[in-house]
């Protein structure tokens, strides 16, 4: 299956002035190509959460997005500290976000579970001190 749209974004560390720009841009593309609104919403929530995670926890990173006629694949990677216990991190309510981040309204420990709920396939590769890569797939039908 040939890719119709490929996009790459840089996610800067701890910069909330542009955090969410990549997901906002992808949301626009999906709406423009006529993807159903509920799928657009699921995709943008999953991508925004992953993007914010890279901003907060990963010292920033990159987003690579491929869209074909059937699906979107979003790969968000960072070279941050990695996740020591992924099973624990996936639990709703568990968070390692510092107070400064919690004061902004993040750090509820729902990021990863929101990504899981809103994606059709979620794969996370992580190792301590080697960073984290999140693979999100959402099918259009």
């Amino acid at each position: 299956m040939s890719s119709v749209v490929v996009r790459d974004y840089i996610i800067p560390a701890n910069d909330f002035t542009i955090a969410g720009d990549a997901s906002s841009n992808v949301r626009k593309i999906l709406s423009q190509i006529g993807v159903a609104p509920d799928i657009v919403k699921r995709t943008s929530i999953a991508m925004y959460e992953a993007e914010i995670n890279a901003v907060i926890h990963g010292n920033g990173g990159q987003a690579h997005v491929e869209i074909d006629e059937n699906k979107i694949v979003i790969i968000i990677s960072d070279q941050g500290p990695g996740i020591a216990d992924l099973e624990l991190a996936m639990q709703e309510g568990y968070s390692t976000a510092p107070d400064s981040i919690r004061e902004m309204g993040f750090g509820a420990g729902m990021g990863l579970s929101n990504i899981k709920k809103n994606s059709d396939i979620l794969e996370i590769k992580t190792a301590v001190n080697e960073g984290t890569t999140v693979y999100i797939t959402v099918f259009f039908k």
């Binding site: 949301r27 309204g105 993040f106 509820a108 990021g111």
Partner: protein, 112 residues
């Protein structure tokens, strides 16, 4: 009920410079200050009440297609947030009332 009608009935201040979505239909109300939780739960057409006034509020409002964001208790709103909301056509409103009172009043108006 539209945002315009709601703002008149409850004496809400319109903060954003854009009024593009002022005739948008309000169908519900949701109050939450945890952004990920709000993002998971807000329904399209909800008035989202939050005490946060940072830039991320605009992103969450935009992603969830809520009708508008309502800031309670006259909490000061960052200029950067007002600018971004205006750019993204996200309606920001404010009130001197508490979130609980606003939920009650909006719910009553929608129910009627």
């Amino acid at each position: 009920m539209t945002i315009n009608e709601l703002s008149q009935k409850l004496d809400l201040k319109i903060i954003t410079k854009t009024e593009k979505n002022i005739e948008k239909e309000v169908t519900g109300v949701y109050s939450c200050d945890l952004l990920s939780h709000a993002m998971a739960k807000i329904n399209e057409g909800d008035v989202w009440i939050t005490v946060h006034t940072n830039l991320n509020v605009v992103a969450v409002a935009s992603l969830t297609d809520c009708a508008c964001v309502l800031i309670p208790e006259n909490i000061e709103i960052d200029n950067q947030t007002i600018e971004r909301a205006s750019e993204k056509d996200v309606m920001l409103l404010a009130s001197e009332k508490s979130a609980a009172l606003l939920c009650y009043e909006i719910f009553k108006l929608i129910k009627d």
